[in-house]
Amino acid sequence: MTQVLFYLILGVCLWALGLYGLLRLKESIRRIISVNIMGSGVFMVMVALAARSEDPDPVMHALVVTGLVVAISATAFALRLSVADVQEDDQ
């Protein structure tokens, strides 16, 4: 087993864990966290694949940098939606 394969499997495990959390948890913020864990699993698979060659694959790295920014945009929107219902009774 190589280092690349180790991290590929770790990424798959994280993705499956995130899926399990998404199916199990009821609280919306925690579901958003679960989706983020799934995303981290995907990133880990991509970074592990980038580490196959002697010089790491810059295309994969660029994709993951892009993915991180898209992930935080989506997370910000989802979190705002999840607290939208409680804003009124704070007033």
Binding site: L23, F43, A51, A62, V86
Partner: protein, 305 residues
């Protein structure tokens, strides 16, 4: 690989799995968020271990720092009732676990042969590096070879900001910050500007670049806003609008100019690639920083009125 390296990788892997399980299984939402911040930090270490310093930088700034602040902000807004509500343990555990395991096994079989395959893109990027106008491959991919993706990414960020704006956010009025905290943020904010500028400049030759720099600037601005040292920001300020739209506008303008001059959409003329990429990066950094700041702290209702 030596035994010691395996020990390091094994510890990293074990820790990240423990953290992921703990994030999902802990009862209190607050502990879950704190653990998730630690999870993001550990991911940054793993990216560093896998030889991806760009990602370690981005994950440290965006993944661990800003996502954590976002989650804390959301946590501060949910009601006491929702916060205390415990996750009921019910019969769903069985089927959910089974489904996750089956999908995990299928995915394992899919990734198993991948380590032996090669990517054709690595030599392709290395071949074209001389024409990209920058010295760092990741920056070259982001802003020269695949500039389209980066432009669309800025648009996604803009779209998320527009969507969040529609929800009429309202924050409970913040308490006055402690003087100690204010002094602390007065110290930290200039540092974040300094390091952000440094990362932006380094991005052309070394790991770093617009996204990492933008996230750091945003962290500084959020800190100042939280401690009340910065006035409430909003879309109605002309300069905020200019900053947010500036990134996309400059990017598009340079792309169209390239089309006009015959180098193709988002193609750079010979010899101009370096300066143009730096120009795009500066405006993109400011745009990303402003958008992220507003995404995290949000426009408050009193600003709107």
């Amino acid at each position: 690989m030596s035994l010691h390296e395996w020990m390091l990788d094994g510890t990293l892997g074990l820790l990240v799995l423990i953290l992921a399980v703990a994030v999902l299984h802990v009862r209190s939402l607050y502990i879950s968020i704190v653990l998730f911040i630690a999870f993001g930090l550990l991911l940054a270490l793993i990216w560093a271990r896998l030889g991806a310093p760009d990602l370690a930088l981005a994950e440290a700034a965006i993944g661990a720092g800003l996502t954590g602040t976002l989650l804390l902000a959301a946590y501060g807004r949910v009601s006491e009732r929702r916060r205390k509500a415990e996750e009921p343990l019910d019969w769903h555990a069985g089927p959910a676990l089974l489904l996750s395991l089956i999908i995990a096994v299928i995915l394992m079989r899919a990734v198993w042969p991948l380590p032996d395959l090669d990517s054709a893109l690595v030599p392709a990027v290395a071949d074209q590096m001389a024409q990209s106008g920058v010295g760092h491959p990741v920056t070259a991919v982001l802003l020269s070879f695949r500039a389209w993706d980066t432009l669309l990414e800025l648009l996604v960020l803009l779209l998320a900001f527009m969507a969040v704006r529609q929800l009429l956010p309202s924050l409970p009025r913040q308490p006055e910050a402690w003087p100690l905290l204010q002094a602390w943020s007065r110290l930290l904010a200039p540092l974040s500007v300094l390091i952000g500028g440094y990362l932006l400049w380094r991005g052309s030759a070394d790991p770093g670049g617009a996204f990492q720099a933008g996230a750091l600037l945003a962290a500084g601005a959020i800190l100042l806003r939280l401690t009340g040292l910065l006035p409430a920001l909003g879309w109605h300020h002309f300069w905020i609008r200019a900053l947010i739209l500036g990134g996309c506008m400059v990017f598009l303008a340079i792309g169209v100019a390239g089309y006009w001059l015959g180098t193709g959409f988002l193609g750079y003329a010979d010899g101009w690639a370096g300066p143009l990429i730096l120009l795009i990066e500066v405006f993109a950094t400011l745009s990303i920083a402003t958008t992220l700041t507003l995404l995290v702290i949000g426009e408050t209702r009193e600003v709107r009125e």
